[in-house]
Amino acid sequence: MSPDEISVDEGDTVTLRVSTDKPMELHVHGYDAEQEVEPGQEAKLHFKADLTGRFEIEDHESEKEIGLLQVRPR
């Protein structure tokens, strides 16, 4: 995943615009944010960063970790 790690502050409203080379189901741990992504299309993942800490971003299709979300406390 590029960037490897996304860093935001607590309370931020986060929008991830995601593009991929393979169909996948994106999931941000700790947040119930899930989004299917298809190659050639930009998908949007939208959530409010209200839990602080480090969370894995994974692909539910392959059960692999692809990146990290870091939410810093205010």
Partner: protein, 497 residues
């Protein structure tokens, strides 16, 4: 509160994706590194607070064997409950059942994804049970599945007409001390931190079975108690943590301790072999102030200090692995992960022995020799390691530990739902990152103060002179501040994979 709108473009290339090296056995870290300013405050607190115990407690020599205690066996109903065959036998059966579930799940269960073995071994047992041992008391001598299996095998042998015990009772070479446990523990630390397949269920089962062979053979060859005290790495490890615990077992009858090399007759504390042999009236189960067990005089076995140093280094190595510094070391020097596991304890040992020698130069030797100093002071560093381990792992235990709730219903990953909990989803965000930061720094600073206090009471015991004890403590304080600040520094490092 100001709300920010964050937007990021993310591009995911699955082809270029490589499996990340997982730190501590398995599972992610949830903590954000502590910020620089908090790290500096923590470090400053460690330096300042180091001198407070010295100023408060430096007056008189005291016997570290004397401290307030309360015998739980003095309460009749509690005595009955804690000695009931149902409770004790039930716990022992449960322990063996869990051990067998780990082995079976490891061998035949689903190898990727849902499996009981990795979570139970690395989270529930290794992290969770360690915390329990340090904070409550050491139940390992009771629950140790290898010890239970050995007892059962002996009972069975007797029943089928075997007159002799299963133990061959070969004399244990005194010079070996607890070196076998040091070696096995080192292998375990390597497995935990370096071996890339440490969270693969089948590997866990194979390691467990291999270790079972070693342990049963050791117990049969040298005698059960002898092997548990010298060679069974986890008995020695949990025994060490149990010295920190606010509970102890004690044997009042000195006759029980004849021939035991783990305690001195009349001063038998947390010597589990003796406790087992003692008559019920001769047993005590005491509440006591935490950490006093680490300051007790004990019979130093060869390898005793080395074991403590290997534990301290292992705990630090676990955190160091995730720092950018370590990546640079791997990149720029011929050092590998495996070499690191072996070199770090040697480095720690060298630094430690150097400071012990300095302490003896400044404080004088007293009646005790270098070996006795080296053996005694090592224990005083243990609270820092325990505090660091807790700071490093407690959120991991809180979050990853919840996985066991669903796994217990479907241990093999075959889609069962034995207890109706298979669908349980772990709750994140139990503790916020801000609270985690402060609690981590607080834990380490508290561990540090306990360590300083312990080292000082040990020096009073060995030197029997407040003035010399004070001088002897200056190098030890520097050593502790170094170790504490290293621990804090690791928590402040960005985590890399």
């Amino acid at each position: 509160m100001r709300r920010m709108l964050m937007a990021a473009s993310v591009f995911i290339l699955m082809l270029a994706y490589a499996s990340p090296a997982l730190a501590h056995g398995f599972g992610p870290t949830y903590d954000i590194p502590i910020p620089l300013w908090l790290y500096l405050y923590g470090a400053a607190a460690a330096v300042v607070l180091a001198f407070i115990p010295l100023a408060l407690f430096s007056r008189k020599e005291r016997d570290t064997y004397q401290y307030p205690r309360f015998d739980l066996f003095g309460i009749p109903w509690l005595r009955k409950l804690l000695n009931s065959r149902l409770l004790i036998g039930g716990l022992r059966v449960l322990s063996v059942v869990l051990f067998l579930v780990v082995v079976i799940a490891g061998l035949v269960g689903l190898q990727s994804g849902f499996n009981f073995a990795p979570t139970f071994v690395w989270v529930t047992w290794w992290v969770g049970f360690s915390f329990f041992t340090a904070l409550v008391g050491n139940l390992w001598p009771l629950l140790n599945p290898w010890s239970v299996l050995f007892d059962w095998a002996e009972g069975l042998a007797r029943r089928v007409g075997f007159r002799d015990e299963l133990e061959l009772g070969e004399p244990y070479p005194e010079g070996f001390g607890i070196w076998p446990a040091v070696g096995l523990y080192l292998v375990f630390v390597w497995t935990e931190n370096v071996f890339s397949g440490s969270y693969v269920p089948r590997n866990i089962a194979l390691f467990a079975l291999g270790y079972t062979l070693i342990t049963l053979y050791g117990m049969a060859f040298f005698g059960k108690e002898t092997w548990l005290r010298h060679g069974e790495a986890f008995s020695v490890f949990f025994g060490l943590l149990g010295r920190f615990a606010p509970t102890e077992v004690r044997v009042k009858d000195p006759g029980v301790c004849q021939g035991c090399d783990g305690c001195e007759p009349g001063r038998c504390v947390n010597c589990y072999g003796c406790f087992r042999r003692a008559a019920p009236e001769a047993r005590e189960l005491n509440l006591r102030p935490p950490a006093v067990g680490l300051g007790l005089p004990e019979r130093a076995l060869p390898g005793g200090a080395a074991f403590v140093i290997v534990v301290l280094a292992g705990v630090t190595f676990d955190g160091l692995l995730e720092t950018p510094l370590w990546l640079e070391i791997l990149r720029l020097t011929p050092i590998t992960q495996t070499l690191g596991v072996m070199l770090l304890p040697l480095l720690f040992l060298g630094i430690y022995l150097g400071f012990v020698q300095l302490s003896r130069v400044l404080g004088g030797g007293g009646e005790a020799g270098f070996g006795q100093f080296a053996a005694a002071y090592a224990f005083s560093l243990v609270p820092i390691a325990i505090a660091y381990q807790m700071a490093h792992y407690y959120t991991y235990l809180l979050i990853q530990g919840q996985m066991i709730i669903s796994l217990i219903s479907d241990p093999l990953g075959w889609g069962w739902n034995l207890f109706g909990t298979a669908g349980f989803e772990p709750r994140y965000g139990i503790v916020g990152a801000g609270f985690v930061w402060y609690s981590q720094v607080a834990l380490i600073v508290i561990g540090h103060v306990i360590a300083v206090y312990l080292a000082h009471s040990i020096s009073l015991r060995l030197l029997r002179d407040p003035g010399r004890a004070f001088r002897s403590q200056l190098p030890m304080l520097v050593l502790m501040v170094l170790y504490t600040i290293t621990s804090l520094w690791i928590l402040a490092q960005p985590i890399v994979k």
